[in-house]
């Protein structure tokens, strides 16, 4: 076991995977020599050479498209989109090509690849360094969407994603790269090293894709969250002193519906928390699923706590961010009667 923050854990996952499989190639803007603006790919070029870890032109479209060609050849690309806000120029290749290739050719060509990207707010990044576009991918059949919330999960899920036969969107909550976040921006950040989830095994292990993690068992209500919001929701529940069952989804598609259903049937109440804008966010799908499948167990309507339906404003970071206050308001509603 080593103690790692999320960046180190992700970096380690790359190394473990690349040592074991010569077909893995890593590339992206600034991802080669420099190791990425968040340093997740640091040292890869040095250890594995320029042909396996390299910088690319600033073309998210070209990055994804060449990854498609490489996957067709038989390589396993693990690519970085510098910020999730910049994934849109590559959206056509992801939606029209990566996602549909296995299907349209009935398995003749497949697209095993990982598209990593830091996402989410809370860092004063303004409109174009704060977005959470996950639901734009969960709508697309053929893609898997994974979001870790701890160093342990980050490494294990990234290794699982790399080994997965299908394309995986791997969104990394950049706000918690260095330490978990309670949602109270005025409190100092606790580094990961103070937390058990920063205990990361050396070498190879995986955290399975498609399995949620019950991070806290409870009876009063079920909280569904992922990424940064797992920590914010947890802090809010502790502060409110509610016996919440908190589920870290880890994978949005395919979703661990079993764990969710079991929990909601038990608690009868459900609160969903995400950073992305509310309308057509992934919370909508979760809410619909929970209602469809657990309606007769529900004692109150499913509630969503989300970012607002506005772009992410630079200076009103904390009005936008779904922090403890917003969660507690929704909690009151969901616990009412």
């Amino acid at each position: 076991m080593a103690v790692m923050n999320m960046i180190q854990a992700l970096n380690d996952a790359h190394k473990v995977a690349m040592r074991a499989d010569e077909d893995i190639v890593v590339f992206g803007e600034d991802a080669g020599y420099f190791g990425g603006v968040f340093r997740v790919t640091e040292g890869l070029q040095k250890e594995f050479g320029k042909e396996r870890a390299f910088d690319t032109p600033i073309s998210e479209n070209g990055i994804v498209a060449t990854a498609v060609g490489m996957a067709a050849y038989g390589l396993k690309p693990v690519i970085e989109i510098q910020f999730a806000d910049y994934i849109y120029p590559g959206y056509d290749q992801i939606v029209s090509e990566v996602a549909k290739m296995r299907y349209r050719t009935a398995g003749e060509w497949t697209m095993p690849m990982v598209i990593r990207s830091p996402y989410g707010g809370g860092i004063y990044g303004g409109q174009t360094h704060s977005q959470s576009p996950e639901s734009l991918f969960t709508h697309i059949a053929g893609l898997k969407t994974v979001i870790p919330s701890t160093p342990y999960d980050a490494k294990g899920l990234l290794l699982a994603a790399i080994e997965d036969p299908d394309p995986v969107l791997f969104f990394e909550p950049k706000r918690i790269y260095n330490g978990p976040f309670s949602g109270h921006h005025d409190q100092p950040v606790v580094p990961w090293s103070k937390r058990a989830e920063a205990e990361v095994p050396e070498g190879h292990y995986t955290v399975p894709i498609g399995k949620a993690n019950v991070v806290r068992e409870g009876e009063a209500l079920t909280v569904l969250a992922y990424g940064t919001m797992v920590h914010v929701a947890r802090a809010a529940m502790e502060e409110a002193d509610v016996d919440a069952e908190i589920i870290d989804l880890r994978t949005l598609v395919p979703l661990d519906i079993e764990t969710i259903e079991k929990s909601v049937r038990k608690t009868g109440r459900c609160l969903i928390v995400h950073e992305a804008p509310r309308t057509s966010g992934f919370g909508a799908e979760l809410s619909a699923l929970v209602t469809e499948r657990c309606f007769y167990h529900l004692e109150a309507p499913v509630e969503r706590v989300t970012g607002w339906d506005t772009p992410y404003p630079h200076s009103y970071e904390w009005t936008y961010f779904p922090g403890p206050a917003r969660i507690k308001t929704a909690l009151k509603k969901v616990m009412a009667d």
């Binding site: 190639v25 042909e51 396996r52 690319t56 032109p57 073309s59 479209n61 070209g62 498209a65 060449t66 990854a67 498609v68 060609g69 490489m70 067709a72 050849y73 038989g74 390589l75 120029p89 056509d92 290749q93 029209s96 090509e97 290739m101 296995r102 299907y103 349209r104 050719t105 009935a106 398995g107 003749e108 060509w109 497949t110 059949a141 053929g142 898997k144 036969p165 299908d166 498609g210 598609v253 395919p254 979703l255 519906i257």
Partner: protein, 419 residues
């Protein structure tokens, strides 16, 4: 209201909207079109600096002269067997196209696209490359499959979306794919395959392989961002790839000027990426062969990518959904001066004494019979219009390697539907 701010000392600006030379009702006349003489283009060494090729981007590599003789430095001096093979492939494609076009008109499938007039390009390109090299084609390179010996029956099964279609009817007709023949899955989204070809070539280079890739795009689709991504990545990593633009001068109803051809040739795009560039008579099978051969040797010897523009003409409608008389003169395709690639190669072979009318008739008969026979065989497996929904659960497979619960639930629901 938008407020124009023209000042008295400034001229009024005006938008230029390109217009093709002829519209329905006009009489097309290409007598003033400057066509470089066959044999006049120099042929630089395959390892030359890219700048040595740049005069060629405004020229036209042509081998067959007006008397159908092969002339000049680009003459590939092909074995007559190779000529006959290319010719056979071209004729096969044309007969196949006619047949399948009719099948669509007969309601046996939903859609078809011909490549009439462009047959030389894919078939001669296939002949010039190794069988192991890969193509990332558009929908107008059916000639690649034919040239590589892909069974016509299988092509037809794809067109009919019947039980012989290895893609399980999931793709629009003519969106073929065959891994074994090095023919990448055709996409409905224009342009996407172009940078994918570069990625495949990069992978081949990463692995120290010797196979190269060829990417294909239409003149209209060069406007997509994918074109630029392909050119940029190919140039930066000096990928072993041939990037081919098939300039058939039309993109559905818009002429190539709407894609930029009024101002520069497509081949000249190569210059800005420091890439070798060639402009080639696409209706001259020998020129096509020679150019692709040159570019493939260049790529294979680690001398970098080449952009080739094949100059040709889309002799028929865009697809079965299109009637070109709505936007260009009916007579234009005949007025087009570069001729029919099939006729040209035929005349060349006859001139060489390697072909004659008798063999030609025999070949046409043989191939027509083969196409007919293939069609019968394919239709035994059904045509689109009689597709029921037997086996409909198959449509839920292959979204992922393993079917997740939500798709399994949907499959189960679909199977129960209407019960």
């Amino acid at each position: 209201m938008a407020r124009s701010e023209r000042r008295p000392n400034r001229p009024a600006l005006a938008l230029h909207v390109p217009e093709p030379p002829y519209r329905p009702g006009d009489t097309p006349d290409y007598s003033n079109l400057e066509i470089p003489e066959a044999g006049s283009a120099p042929r630089p060494d395959v390892a030359c600096d890219d700048s040595e090729t740049h005069p060629l981007v405004n020229h036209l590599v042509r081998v067959l002269d007006d008397d159908h003789k092969a002339v000049g430095p680009w003459d590939p001096k092909l074995d007559p067997e190779v000529l006959r093979k290319i010719y056979r492939d071209m004729v096969t494609v044309r007969i196949f196209d006619d047949r399948m076009y009719r099948a669509q008109r007969q309601g046996k499938t939903s859609f078809y696209m011909k490549c009439t007039g462009e047959e030389a390009i894919a078939t001669a390109a296939a002949a010039a490359m190794d069988a192991e090299d890969i193509h990332f084609p558009t929908y107008r390179q059916q000639g690649l499959l034919v040239a590589r010996g892909y069974p016509l029956v299988k092509m037809m099964c794809q067109i009919y979306s019947n039980s012989g279609d290895h893609m399980k009817g999931r793709q629009l007709p003519i969106m073929y794919s065959d891994k074994e023949k090095g023919f990448f899955s055709i996409s409905g989204n224009l342009g996407t395959q172009f940078p994918q070809a570069v990625g495949w070539a990069m992978a081949s280079a990463i692995k120290g392989d010797s196979r190269i890739a060829m990417g294909w795009i239409g003149d209209g689709a060069t406007a997509e961002g994918d074109f630029h991504a392909a050119m940029t990545f190919a140039s930066v990593y000096q990928a072993p790839v041939i990037l081919a633009t098939v300039n058939n001068q039309w993109a559905i109803s818009s002429f190539s000027g709407i894609a930029g051809a009024e101002q520069a040739t497509f081949a000249s795009r190569a210059i800005g990426y420091g890439m070798a560039g060639l402009r080639v008579d696409g209706n001259d099978a020998l020129a096509v062969y020679a150019a692709v051969r040159w570019a493939s040797e260049r790529a294979r010897s680690n001398n970098g990518p080449t952009m080739i523009e094949f100059f040709t003409y889309r002799a028929e409608g865009h697809s079965t959904s299109d009637d070109p008389t709505g936007y260009r003169p009916k007579e234009e395709s005949e007025a087009w001066p570069l001729g029919d690639p099939i006729e040209r190669l035929k005349a060349h072979m006859i001139g060489l004494g390697e072909w004659d009318e008798e063999r030609d008739s025999a070949l046409h008969e043989e191939l027509s019979a083969e196409v007919r026979k293939s069609q019968k065989e394919a239709e035994k497996l059904g045509v689109l219009s009689d597709q029921g929904d037997e086996n409909k659960e198959s449509m839920f497979e292959d979204v992922y390697a393993e079917m997740p619960w939500h798709i399994a639930e949907q499959r189960d629901a679909a199977l129960k539907e209407g019960e």
